[in-house]
Amino acid sequence: MNSSGADMPGKARWGVAKRGARWYLAVVEKMDNIKKNKLRVGIPRALLYHKYGKLWEVFLRELGAAVVLSPETNKEIIARGARLSIDESCLSVKIFVGHVDWLKDKVDVILTPHVACLKSGEEMCVKFMALVDTVRNIFPGVKILEYSVDAKNFETEAGGMILLGARLSRNPIKSILAYLKAKSAQETSAREKKEAQAREFEDARRDGKPLILIVAHSYTLDDNFLGKPIIDYLKKSGICVLRSDRINAGKARKMSKKISQTLYWTYHKELLGAAEYYKDAVEGMIFLTTFPCGPDALAINLCQSKMKGIPSIIISLDELESRVGLQTRLESFVDVINLKKCRKNK
């Protein structure tokens, strides 16, 4: 009993060393594997991708991951999303689910951010808060790469993404550098878009082209299925299209106070602010919502009723595609705008 007890520590030490060596070799092999076949990260081309796409892509590429983007939204993706998600989810979430479904067999992990609150005192739509859990519950086997932004709990975007990067690359400094690079790339592209819109606006004013403001979220406007056909049609009819998501966000938030004092959704503040900012310059406004968007139902209706004297329509999009009705409504709206412009010129 005594002798075996005396031997134990030595044996145990050998065991620890062996286990350590084995673990080290396993880690080295794993790292090699990761280096050889990169981690494939899927990014669904929906919801916040249209705002933070550049940031995510550059960040993940910097960290050595292979980024797989889902294709532009098409009928098949919408059909998949509508089949998998709860019936009453809004179309934007259904599209997101459809993109995840397209990606799930092709990648190792899927990037899904949990964005609860971007600025203290403001809130995001609860769908963004629940996005991670929605995906997790609909696709139980899918691995999710998530980062959390919640200003109320002092979780910032930078902190969340750097932690995520440190997990991916096992090197915090690399992760910080990647984040800085990605952020600057994102900001440059966003600024360029805003400047382009400002230039277009000036040109159109000089040429006397009719102007229409489309008030909608980035993920509606940039979507191949929802916003893009409408923008293309308007441009083809010789109208200068302004987008509500391409003005200075801080300025827009301040402007939105004029329309509504108690509004607390960050993105809706930007929408209403854009409407207030452009309201004297434009001939008409189109409010584009996805059915059944919760915040839109209140905020957009309030905004429309406060925009007196400006022709406006609310177009609500759903997955039952009948483009004919939409076409008719757009045509007549464009006619109204052109008539108004003619009268103004006389």
Binding site: E88, V126, D296
Partner: protein, 350 residues
């Protein structure tokens, strides 16, 4: 507002004007639907209908609370709609951002003849009444289905509400609660030890307004089912005062179906359903208005819960087209299914 009328009455009396309790009728709903935005949720429409009827009846102070989802933005939109209709009134907003001090200040503005001490006293009275009403109604809800002589419990409950409305000291209110709980316990009931137990979870307005859910709890009680409901005004107030602590507890209970707070009462619905199923409840009924944002997210988790634990969950989504007959049929089928399941399990045990 349901049974809480008598609780809020004591606050409104301070203003020196009568409280107009607008009964919800078909006309209320029609009015609400006429003037509301199309895709907004049902509680908004009911509230708006209530306001219009109250204003027509001569009200000039309206009150609206606020919460985590769209509810927080109700007040401004409703005020805008009502002003556009040409009504003149004072709108009293209880937002989630405002604390209790702001509430007192706002109240003082409406009723300047009262001191802050008076307001605080009435507020405490109001809270005590809410607490008592919830305690007694919870007991009633669990036992009313098993009465031997029908109608006794309802009679006592109505008497209790009338008594509470006239009690103006906290001690008296608490004594009333004790007294009536004793009276309810004395009523002869025939309750088997293994009776069916059903938990009702979901969106708060749909749960708390019996007219809106077509008296669902009564229907369940008639089929000899013990009904448990956790969303009450006192529950909401508790949540309001404890803040994040409550959410964290719910998240713990909702594991592994949720990892983050999903807004308003969504997390609570999943947490309650999960813990009730673990406790051995026979079924869950989930209520929500059409398009309710947090509850739709909760449904994905509830679906998984139902699949993993083989738990029966019945979903109801209310909109203008929901009919009482349809609800009745589904509730009936659900109850039959629960009884059959119970019978089968008992047979297997033997």
């Amino acid at each position: 507002m349901g049974d809480y009328y008598s609780a809020f009455k004591c606050l409104v009396e301070l203003i020196g004007r009568p409280l107009v309790p607008p009964p919800i009728t078909k006309k209320t709903i029609e009015l609400g639907f006429k003037y509301s935005p199309e895709t907004v949720c049902i509680p908004f429409k009911y509230n708006l209908g209530n306001y219009i009827e109250a204003l027509d009846a001569g009200a000039d102070v309206l009150c609206q609370a606020g919460g985590g989802c769209r509810f927080g933005y109700y007040a401004e939109t409703q005020e805008h709609i009502l002003r556009r209709l040409g009504y003149k009134f004072e709108f009293f907003k209880l937002n989630n951002k405002n604390g209790i001090i702001d509430f007192a200040r706002d109240f003082k503005r409406i009723a300047p003849q009262n001191s802050y001490a008076q307001i605080a006293h009435r507020l405490a009275l109001c809270l005590a009444r809410i607490h008592c009403i919830d305690a007694v109604s919870d007991r009633v809800r669990k036992n009313i289905g098993f009465e031997v002589r029908l109608g006794q419990m309802e009679k006592i409950y109505k008497k209790f509400l009338a008594d509470v409305a006239n009690a103006y000291s906290i001690v008296k209110i608490l004594a009333l609660k004790k007294e009536y709980l004793r009276q309810i316990d004395l009523i002869e009931i025939n309750k088997p030890a293994d009776c069916l137990r059903v938990g009702v979870v979901g969106e708060l307005y749909m749960l708390m307004e019996p007219f809106a859910n077509f008296y669902l709890e009564k229907k369940l009680a008639q089929r000899k089912i013990e009904v448990h409901r956790f969303v009450t005004v006192s529950g909401i107030l508790k949540e309001y005062f404890t803040g994040d602590w409550f959410i964290k507890r719910h998240l713990k209970e909702a594991r592994p179906y949720l990892t983050h707070h999903i807004g308003a009462h969504g997390t609570e619905s999943v947490a309650r359903a999960n813990s009730l199923i673990k406790k051995g409840f026979d079924g869950i009924i989930h209520l929500k208005p059409f398009g309710c944002m947090p509850e739709v997210s909760a449904m994905a988790a509830l679906n998984n819960l139902a699949r993993d634990r083989r738990a029966p969950i019945l979903y109801f989504s209310f909109d203008s087209q929901t009919s009482e007959a349809g609800l009745e049929t589904r509730v009936e089928a659900f109850c039959d299914m629960l009884y059959m399941k119970k019978k089968k399990m008992n047979n297997n045990e033997q």
